[in-house]
């Protein structure tokens, strides 16, 4: 049995080697006796097998047919190479043996390296079911960290603005800073929940207006009145809901709020994104100036109102805003002037940046 196995292993050697030395190797096997000697012969023949196939390619010469005659021409047919069945059998055996050796080495390896497990702690019904019965109950050892999400410039502003304007907070039921189709449709119900005094309509305070307490401006009833009015006018959502511009959102306006909100949808995608509900800064600033200087509330800052002490710091802006030189400044004129100055400032700063200077470095 052992002799047959040894002979079989000898026959797995390359043709040239086994043709030359097979009989001698088998003769040596027949000479030795004892389990230890036979074991060493088997170890030797395995090493020899590996050595001959891997390192001794120079001794593997192709078998050339001998010339039949010296005078007759030699014809050779270059057929497509096909390995012999025995060679295929030998190759298959070596492959299986190598695979088995690798599997055994992996199963009986001395060191146990920690497995890298990537997954989730809490399975979700949206995930594909995985049969974990064959896995050991190990803690997840590898954390996958995602990079920072791209910064949305509107998000920080919107999160503050939606809290400040209570109407927006009420409309944005899922607090994703977007007024969805469903939230627009259900706007009347959301607005009615803000009616804390149960008078059927929403005043500026119920919409989010606040001046604080204890300050001097609160004592000025006229200023408070103008500020409340400008608050309702400056914020696009409130201005859209207050269709009659009386400074309050009536019961009828609440009922029609869904249709009013849809008018703010400039891109027609059916939802209101922050850029559609947050006011442009310049009209707000203009409205604030108007709330302080337009004391008679005629919608214009007259030459008399421009001469007040409160208007002194803004004299340069107000003079520039009166472009038709009629002595009165409208909200549009003031907004246009502020926008022009803002554009000039931006160009100036860009020029400074291009020259490698900072604004505070220029005297």
């Amino acid at each position: 049995m052992l002799r047959s196995l040894y002979l079989w292993l000898i026959r797995l050697h390359p043709f040239g080697f086994r043709q030359r030395f097979a009989e001698e190797m088998l003769a040596i096997f027949d000479e030795v006796s004892g389990l230890r000697a036979v074991t060493s012969l088997f170890a030797d023949v395995f090493v020899s097998l590996f050595r001959q196939w891997v390192f001794r390619s120079e001794f593997r010469q192709p078998m050339m047919p001998a010339p039949v005659s010296d005078v007759a021409p030699i014809f050779r047919t270059l057929d497509t190479y096909r390995p012999r069945p025995m060679a295929l059998l030998n190759g298959g055996f070596i492959s299986v043996a190598a695979l088995c050796a690798v599997v055994v080495a992996m199963d009986h390896g001395g060191s146990r390296r920690p497995a890298f497990l990537i997954g989730v702690h809490h399975p979700s019904p949206h995930l594909l079911p995985v049969d974990r019965s064959s896995l050991a109950e190990n803690e997840l050892s590898t954390a996958v960290k995602l990079g920072p999400e791209p910064v949305d410039p509107w998000h920080a502003i919107a999160s503050i603005y939606f809290k400040m304007i209570r109407v927006l907070g009420a409309l944005d039921a899922d607090q994703d800073l977007v007024i969805s189709r469903w939230e627009i449709v259900t706007a009347p119900g959301a607005l009615r929940r803000l009616d804390t005094d149960r008078d059927g309509q929403l005043n500026p305070e119920e919409c989010g207006f606040s001046l604080g307490t204890g300050s001097e401006v609160v004592a000025d009833s006229q200023f408070v009145k103008r500020a409340r009015f400008e608050f309702m006018r400056a914020n696009p959502v409130l201005a859209a809901l207050d269709t009659d511009h009386d400074g309050e959102i009536s019961e009828t306006e609440i009922s029609n709020s869904a249709a009013a909100l849809k008018k703010l949808d400039r891109n027609g995608d059916g939802i209101l994104t922050p850029d559609e509900v947050i006011p442009d800064a310049l009209p707000v600033r203009a409205a604030m100036i108007f709330s302080r200087l337009d004391t008679n509330q005629d919608g214009k800052i007259s030459s008399g109102e421009r001469a007040s002490e409160e208007a002194e710091p803004l004299r340069d802006i107000l003079e520039g805003a009166d472009r038709n030189h009629d002595g009165a400044i409208t909200a549009e004129e003031l907004t246009k002037e502020l926008r022009l100055r803002e554009e000039r400032r931006r160009q100036f700063e860009n020029a400074l940046r291009g020259a490698g200077l900072r604004r505070d470095a220029v005297k």
Partner: protein, 117 residues
């Protein structure tokens, strides 16, 4: 001839032992294995695979050649091997090299003093 022999140096242990085994007389494969074990007091044993791998190479290099079987081994599978003149030259060159190594080693060991514990 000497330059050709030197080109094979230094010899691998298996090659040196096979050349040494064949230096005294022609031997068959199993005889070479036994002679190598005898020369090394059993510390170095050649397996048939290693032996015939080296013989294959040494025959190609011309250090060893096959000789006809003996009369007493008529009908036997044994083949006998002998050193060629090149093999003898290579063995002589290797022995001379090893003598130089031993001489150098003795010179250095002589100058070494035992360390005190």
């Amino acid at each position: 001839m000497k330059d050709v022999a030197d080109s094979f140096l230094p010899l691998a242990p298996a090659t040196l032992h096979i050349l040494l085994a064949l230096a005294a007389e022609d031997l068959h494969g199993y005889g070479i294995m036994q002679e190598v074990a005898r020369q090394s007091d059993g510390r170095y044993k050649l397996g048939p695979g290693t032996l015939y791998d080296n013989l294959q190479r040494m025959m190609k290099q011309g250090m060893v050649e096959e000789v006809g079987g003996r009369a007493e081994d008529e009908g036997s599978r044994r083949r006998y091997y002998r050193l060629s003149s090149l093999g003898r030259g290579v063995l002589s060159a290797e022995i001379a090299r090893l003598e130089g190594v031993v001489k150098e080693a003795r010179l250095h060991l002589k100058n070494l003093r035992p360390r005190r514990a």
